[in-house]
C-alpha cells in the first residue's frame, strides 16, 4: 500500500482543494523542508541545502536574483503592453499616447517596463562585476560565465530593439545612429545593417523586425539561457564560497536547509525591489518625445545611453577601429576570460587578496584620471589625420592611437604589477578594472558632456537647457 492511500480524504470541498494545491502546508522539520524543495517545480531550481556562508548578502548583493526578478517584471508588463500596441508607424506612436492617457494604469505599466529594462542592464553588469571580482568565472564555472556574457548581450539587444517601439524622435534617431555603427563592420556591415533595418533606413519594416525580435526571439532565448544558467549553478556545486584573503576553507562547513534560509531572504529581497520599482514607475515617467520625423535630425543625435561609450569611441577612432576592432577585442577577452584567468585558490576572495584590493582602487583611480585627460587631448590637441596626412585614416586615426593606448596600458599596469609584486591574476584584475572604469568614463562623457554637434560642454552649461 502506498503511503498516500492511508491518508484520509478531507470531508469538505474546500479542504480537498487546499490539500491538492498545498498538500501538507509548509513543513517545519528539516527533512520535510528538504523534501518540499525536491517536490516543488519552481523551488526545484534550488538544492535542498545550501552552504550557510554563501547566504551572506554582502557577498552576492542579490544581483543575479534582481536580474531574474526584473526579467519576470519585464515579461509580465511586456505582455500587457502588447495588448495596446500596433507595430506600424504612425499607429505605434499614437498607441503609446493612447496608452499613457486613456488606458487605466497604462503609464504605470509602461514606466515599470521602461525602468526595469534599463535597470536590468545595470543589474546584469554589476552581477558580472561581482562574479569577476570573486573569481566565480574560474573552473569549473567557465560555461556559466560564458552563458552570462551571452545573456548580457541579449539584454542589450532587448533594450535596443525595445527603444525603437514608441516611434518618437528619441527612438528613431537613437536607433538610426545605433544601427549605423553596425554598417562599419568590414565586408558584411552594410548588408547586415540593411537586413536588420529591412531597408536602407529606419522605417516601417525596421519597426516590425525590431518588434519580432523584442517580443519573441530575444525573450525566448533569454528565458532558455536563464534556465540553463540556473541549472549550471547547481551542476557547478552552488555558488562560490566567500573567504577572507589567505583563508583556507574548513573541510566541514555548515549547511542549512533552503527553506527557509535561502527562500525567505530571496522573497523579502524580491518584494522590496518590487516595491522600489513600483515607486520608481509612479514617480518618474518614461521619456516620450514628439513623433519620429525622418526628415530632420535632432542635434545632437545620440545612441541609447548604454551605447554612448561606443559612440564616444567612434568620435576618437576611425569607425573600423572604434566600432569593430576595440569592442570585438574587448568582448572576446571577456568571453574567454575563464580560460586565461584560472587561479582557483583565491576563488571566493573579493579582489583576490588584500593587495588586489589596493591595486583595484589604484587602477580605478588612474583610469578616472587618465581617461578624461585622453578624451580632452584627443578633442583639442591631437589631430592624427592632419599630422599624418599621407596615411589612410584607419591607420593614422585608428591603429596609431590604439597602439599607443594599448602600449600605455601595458606599460602602466606592468609597472604597477612589478612595484607591488603582483601575481598574474592580480595583473588581470588591474587591467580589467582599468578598462571597465574607462568604459564608465566614456559613457558618462557621452551622456552628460556631449552637446550640439557632439562638442564637449559642462552639463550645467549645455546649450538648450
Amino acid at each position: 500500500m502506498k503511503p498516500e492511500d492511508t491518508e484520509e480524504i478531507p470531508s469538505s470541498l474546500f479542504d480537498r482543494m487546499r490539500k491538492t494545491l498545498a498538500p501538507s502546508g509548509i513543513p517545519t522539520d528539516r527533512r520535510g523542508r528538504m523534501r518540499m524543495v525536491v517536490d516543488t517545480l519552481i523551488l526545484h531550481i534550488h538544492p535542498t541545502k545550501v552552504n550557510s556562508r554563501t547566504l551572506r548578502f554582502t557577498y552576492t548583493w542579490g544581483l543575479g536574483g534582481l536580474s531574474a526578478l526584473l526579467t519576470v517584471i519585464l515579461v509580465s508588463t511586456g505582455v500587457l503592453l502588447e495588448m495596446n500596441y500596433t507595430p506600424s508607424p504612425p499607429d505605434a506612436y499614437l498607441d503609446i499616447i493612447n496608452l499613457t492617457t486613456n488606458v487605466w494604469f497604462g503609464s504605470l505599466v509602461r514606466n515599470l517596463h521602461h525602468w526595469s529594462g534599463n535597470l536590468l542592464i545595470v543589474a546584469a553588469v554589476l552581477h558580472l562585476l561581482r562574479v569577476f571580482f570573486t573569481g566565480g568565472h574560474r573552473p569549473p564555472r567557465e560555461l556559466n560565465w560564458m552563458l552570462g556574457v551571452a545573456m548580457l548581450l541579449l539584454v542589450l539587444g532587448a533594450n535596443f530593439t525595445g527603444y525603437l517601439l514608441p516611434w518618437d524622435e528619441l527612438a528613431y534617431w537613437a536607433i538610426t545612429v545605433g544601427t549605423s555603427i553596425i554598417s562599419y563592420v568590414p565586408l558584411v556591415g552594410e548588408w547586415l545593417n540593411r537586413l536588420l533595418l529591412g531597408g536602407p533606413e529606419v522605417g516601417a519594416a525596421t519597426l516590425l523586425n525590431f518588434y519580432a525580435l523584442h517580443i519573441s526571439i530575444i525573450p525566448v532565448t533569454v528565458v532558455l539561457l536563464m534556465s540553463y544558467h540556473f541549472w549550471r549553478i547547481r551542476k557547478d556545486g552552488g555558488l562560490t564560497i566567500p573567504k577572507k584573503p589567505g583563508e583556507e576553507l574548513p573541510k566541514k562547513m555548515e549547511s542549512v536547509t533552503t527553506i527557509p534560509y535561502l527562500v525567505r531572504p530571496e522573497l523579502m529581497f524580491a518584494i522590496a525591489w518590487l516595491a522600489i520599482m513600483f515607486f520608481w514607475a509612479m514617480l518618474v515617467p518614461a521619456p516620450l518625445e514628439g513623433i519620429a520625423n525622418p526628415l530632420v535630425s535632432p542635434n545632437p543625435a545620440k545612441a541609447p545611453w548604454y551605447f554612448m561609450g561606443l559612440q564616444e569611441l567612434l568620435l576618437h577612432f576611425h569607425p573600423v577601429i572604434g566600432a569593430v576592432l576595440i569592442p570585438g577585442l574587448a568582448l572576446t577577452s571577456l568571453f574567454l576570460l575563464p580560460f586565461y584567468d584560472v587561479e582557483i585558490k583565491t576563488v571566493g576572495v573579493y579582489f583576490r587578496s588584500q593587495r588586489g584590493r589596493y591595486l583595484a582602487i589604484i587602477s580605478a583611480g588612474l583610469s578616472l584620471l587618465i581617461s578624461p585627460i585622453w578624451v580632452l587631448l584627443d578633442e583639442y590637441v591631437i589631430h592624427w589625420t592632419m599630422w599624418l596626412p599621407s596615411w589612410p585614416t584607419w591607420i593614422s586615426n585608428g591603429l596609431v592611437p590604439l597602439s599607443i593606448l594599448l602600449l600605455g596600458i601595458f606599460v602602466l599596469t606592468g609597472w604597477i604589477a612589478k612595484l607591488s609584486r603582483a601575481s598574474l591574476e592580480e595583473r588581470v584584475l588591474v587591467i580589467f578594472v582599468y578598462l571597465f572604469t574607462a568604459l564608465v568614463v566614456l559613457t558618462v562623457i557621452g551622456i552628460f558632456f556631449r552637446g550640439p554637434g557632439m562638442e564637449l560642454f559642462w552639463p550645467w552649461m549645455m546649450p538648450g537647457h
Binding site: W173, T176, V177, T179, S180, I181, E190, R194, L195, L197, G198, G199, P200, E201, V202, G203, A205, N209, P294, L295, V296, S297, P298, N299, P300, A301, L314, L315, P319, T385, T393, P452, G453, M454
Partner: protein
C-alpha cells in the same frame, strides 16, 4: 598473412563507416545551410512603388533649373541639377552615422547637424567625420519625366563625372 588481411578489412570497414558519417554530416550541413538561406532570403527588404524604397517620380526635367538643389521629401533624397544640366539624386542620409543632412541654400552645401560633416552639391565630403560622399540613387528619365529608384542606395567613395545622368 591472416593478420594483415584482417587489418585491411578493418581499415576498409572504418572507411565505409567514415563515409556514412561524412555523408550524414554533409546532409545535415546542407539542411542547416538551406534553412539559413531560406531565413535570410525571407528577411530581405520588402519594398513598394510610390513610397520610399520604391520608384519615385520627381517631376518633369524642365521644372528643375540648372544649378539647383531640390529636396524630394517622399523619396528622402535631393535632386541636384548641375550647371551643365546633368542630374544627381543624393540620398539625404549622412554616411557617418545616418542623420538626415539638410541643404544650406546660403552656404550652398549640405551640413549635417549631428557631427558637422559637410558635402558639396555633388555630394563630395568637404568636412569629415563622414568617411565618403553621399550615396546616390539611380535616375531614369523617360519622356522628360525623372524617376528615381530608391530601393538601393549606391555607395561611392567620391564623385566622378560618370555618375551624372543627362536628360
Amino acid at each position: 598473412m591472416v593478420l594483415i588481411m584482417s587489418e585491411n578489412e578493418k581499415k576498409k570497414k572504418i572507411n565505409r563507416n567514415n563515409f556514412l558519417k561524412i555523408a550524414w554530416g554533409a546532409v545535415a550541413g546542407l539542411v542547416a545551410l538551406e534553412i539559413g538561406g531560406v531565413t535570410l532570403a525571407y528577411m530581405q527588404p520588402r519594398l513598394g512603388d510610390g513610397e520610399f524604397g520604391g520608384m519615385i517620380e520627381a517631376g518633369e526635367v524642365d521644372t528643375f533649373p540648372p544649378g539647383s538643389v531640390t529636396q524630394i521629401t517622399e523619396g528622402r533624397f535631393y535632386l541636384s541639377r548641375l550647371k551643365d544640366g546633368g542630374f544627381l539624386a543624393l540620398y539625404q542620409r549622412c554616411t557617418h552615422l545616418g542623420c538626415s543632412v539638410p541643404w544650406d541654400q546660403v552656404q550652398e552645401k549640405f551640413i549635417c547637424p549631428c557631427h558637422n560633416s559637410q558635402f558639396t552639391t555633388v555630394g563630395d565630403v568637404i568636412n569629415p567625420p563622414a568617411p565618403r560622399a553621399l550615396d546616390l540613387f539611380p535616375i531614369l528619365i523617360e519622356d522628360g519625366i525623372i524617376k528615381i529608384d530608391t530601393s538601393n542606395p549606391i555607395s561611392r567613395q567620391n564623385y566622378d563625372i560618370t555618375q551624372i545622368v543627362y536628360a
